[in-house]
């Protein structure tokens, strides 16, 4: 009798002891997620870089520095928008700091330089800005550890071409920064514009970063109906100003970066009426975006551009993907798989992924206008949304297989049969 009680008591005691111990032993140590962030925090694109960092950090701060249950160790490295430097920093982040993933890269050239590094070092690279088309198109197989959370260069320009036709424009002159992003933006516009009956009659390519458009403006053909412009960074405020100063009154339809939201408050009224296309506008009138813009403005004293939104939403995506993996980083490939299954409701609207690791999302046609938004007390310049194309993928309305057979947009493709 005594033995039974003793044994049972023993079991109960052991059980109690174990339960007590389990209660005392802390839950498995919180996972740490090491994230490397590569952005141009100095140099001619420094405003962009800072916008990116702020966007990502705001989400982190809103969530106590945690994403999906893991504590984030964010390491920010300056790339100065130089692909060389970006690559060196990426290598250092992976080899020295042992990051689980690196995010960032702004220019298409940075994207094309960083993606191979992700393959070489077998580490996840999330492009939160670098829009280079081919990374999620013809070169996808080279980069199994790569995913993009924003857009492909040509993506917003396809619907813009259609929109231009709908406005009755027949002849357009393009002036775009002379590098991959410029070529791919113009290419996207040209293909869809010419498919619906328009003609591109001239292509001008000022160098990236060029601020004096004196040599280029006088050569714009006078029989055009409109000008398609693709400007980046410091080029963006200068071009419309110099264009109007030179007396050219043609309407401007542009790639989204030509009218960055954070620049608009400082622009003069010459830009009113200029149209651009992008997957975001700070003026989107949804509760989610309004909250985002208001919070960003109060924290950083600036209107958020798409760079901020893209990185904020990227943080949101990482949050949800990590949560789905129980707060543990499952390795690059599994993580990508989780991300591909996400459906996000973000500041820019609904976002999902196509099977080539690029987002499917709304594209907004925006027009600069002086309005009062979000409880402000006076009007300012905003990219007001005048049309929304929902569920736009990087392939627009084209058949994917056929599209992939044509070469990536370049300086020479599409050819310009109507150019002189």
């Amino acid at each position: 009798m005594t033995r039974k009680i003793t044994t049972r008591a023993g079991f109960v005691a052991m059980g109690a002891a174990l339960a007590l111990a389990a209660g005392l032993v802390p839950a498995a140590a919180q996972q740490q997620l090491n994230i490397g962030f590569i952005a141009p925090t100095t140099g001619f694109l420094s405003q962009t870089g800072q916008d990116m960092v702020h966007g990502f950090q705001m989400y982190l701060n809103d969530h106590n520095g945690m994403l999906g249950g893991a504590k984030v160790n964010l390491i920010i490295e300056d790339s100065q928008a130089k692909p060389d430097l970006a690559v060196t920093k990426a290598r250092q982040l992976v080899l020295d700091d042992h990051v689980d993933m690196f995010i960032g890269g702004v220019l298409a050239s940075e994207g094309y330089a960083l993606a191979p590094v992700s393959t070489e070092l077998k580490t996840l690279y999330i492009s939160s800005i670098a829009a280079a088309d081919d990374l999620t198109q013809r070169q996808l197989d080279k980069y199994p550890y790569f995913i993009r959370t924003t857009w492909a260069s040509s993506q917003p320009n396809h619907p813009l071409g259609q929109w231009a036709c709908d406005q009755g424009y027949k002849k357009v002159v393009t002036i775009a920064a002379d590098y991959a992003f410029g070529y791919e933006s113009v290419g996207g516009f040209q293909q869809s514009f010419e498919d619906c009956g328009g003609k591109v009659i001239q292509k001008i390519w000022p160098p990236l970063g060029n601020k004096d458009f004196g040599p280029y403006i006088p050569s714009i053909k006078s029989d055009a109906d409109a000008i398609y412009s693709l400007m980046v960074g410091p080029m963006s405020p200068q071009f419309p100003k110099q264009l109007r100063d030179a007396g050219v009154k043609l309407p401007i339809i542009a790639g989204g970066t030509s009218y960055d939201d954070y620049n608009l408050p400082f622009d003069s009224d010459v830009v009113v009426g200029d149209v651009s296309a992008l997957m975001y506008s700070a003026a989107i009138q949804t509760p989610k975006n309004e909250a985002f813009v208001k919070e960003f403005r109060s924290k950083y004293n600036e209107v958020p551009g798409y760079y901020a939104e893209a990185n904020y939403t990227t943080a949101q995506m990482i949050d949800e993907a990590m949560a789905k993996n129980g707060g543990k980083f499952p390795g690059a490939e599994a993580f990508i798989k989780t991300m591909l299954g996400l459906k996000i409701d973000s500041a820019r609207g609904p976002v999902a992924f196509d099977d080539m690791r690029n987002p499917v999302e709304n594209i907004y046609i925006r027009k600069v206008d002086k309005v009062t938004l979000f409880g402000d007390d006076k009007p300012a310049l905003w990219n007001t949304v005048i049309k929304t194309y929902p569920n736009v993928s990087q392939f627009w309305t084209y058949d994917k297989a056929k599209y992939l057979q044509q070469p990536v947009y370049s300086r020479d493709f599409p050819a310009c049969p109507n150019c002189e």
């Binding site: 490295e77 130089k82 692909p83 060389d84 690559v87 060196t88 920093k89 290598r91 250092q92 080899l95 020295d96 298409a108 050239s109 094309y112 330089a113 191979p116 590094v117 070489e120 080279k142 002379d178 590098y179 991959a180 160098p207 990236l208 300086r411």
Partner: protein, 330 residues
Amino acid sequence: MSEKAKILTVAVVLLAFAWVVPHTTSFVVLLATRALVFAILAMSVDLLLGFTGLASMGQAAYFGIGAYLTAILATKYHFGLGWDFWLVVLFAMLLGAATAAFFGLFAIRATGVYFLMITLALGQCVWGLAYRWNSLTGGDNGINVTVRPNFGIDLTNQRTFFFMILGFFIVTLLSLYVLVRSPFGRSLEGIRERELRMSILGYNVWLHKYIAFIIAGAVAGLSGVLWAHTNGLVSPETVVLTTSVDALLMVVLGGAGTLVGGAIGAAIVFGLREYLSTIVPWWQYVLGGVYVLTIFYLPTGLMGLPARLRQWRASRTNSTDRPALAPVRS
């Protein structure tokens, strides 16, 4: 130090280097590899500066030509990724030499400051082409060199690649050492010291300088090939003015006229640019400071430090003339 002792020291240091580096982190290996490539470039600068007395502000031109050649052959023609890599090395050296031969026709007539200016201009010509000749060079984007050559050894392994670059460095060092110890090399030093006397003695000064210039171009071209594969990306940044100036600094910092001085200088400059920059944001103060302090306090570079110390100790009372930094002909 006797000649033999010097050679022995260098050999020992190189061996130690070759032993230690692979055991450090991947990042240090990467950094060391990059610095070694620039050390080769620095040697070409040293040949001109330390031995011939010519300060060239445009060596990056031949460096870039070698790099772009490699990148274009690799990406557009799929050439140079197997055993034909060695052909690319040869072509790059020839192209570097040929370009130097062409540029030299304009440059060698000038001396001192004017030589600086004209080599600067020549370097900028190459930069301009790299930047705007989109169809050839990819313009601002540059050209990605993503595949390392495969001729039996696995160069995708960082450590193996490091050894190959080290090998190139050692071979170049030995070759240049033989060159500067030869009668030709001695003549160059004579020209550096007393150009007028050399020409009175009947030496064809122009020709000597010209040949040195061509050889330097070839060596710089070689370093360009290695850089293309080390960096994985060739862009106008490779040929920018700062690259040429950095190379000059590396030589001056390490010690002109020593051939290995450039390697020490390269290690320091790279350490600052690529390592310190990731740790502290004010690294450029250190870099600028190094430039300024070197000029004032280390005119003979780090390699010249032992000699300077000895001199300082020996003649504490006399005011010493600044020991000659390879005087630039003016």
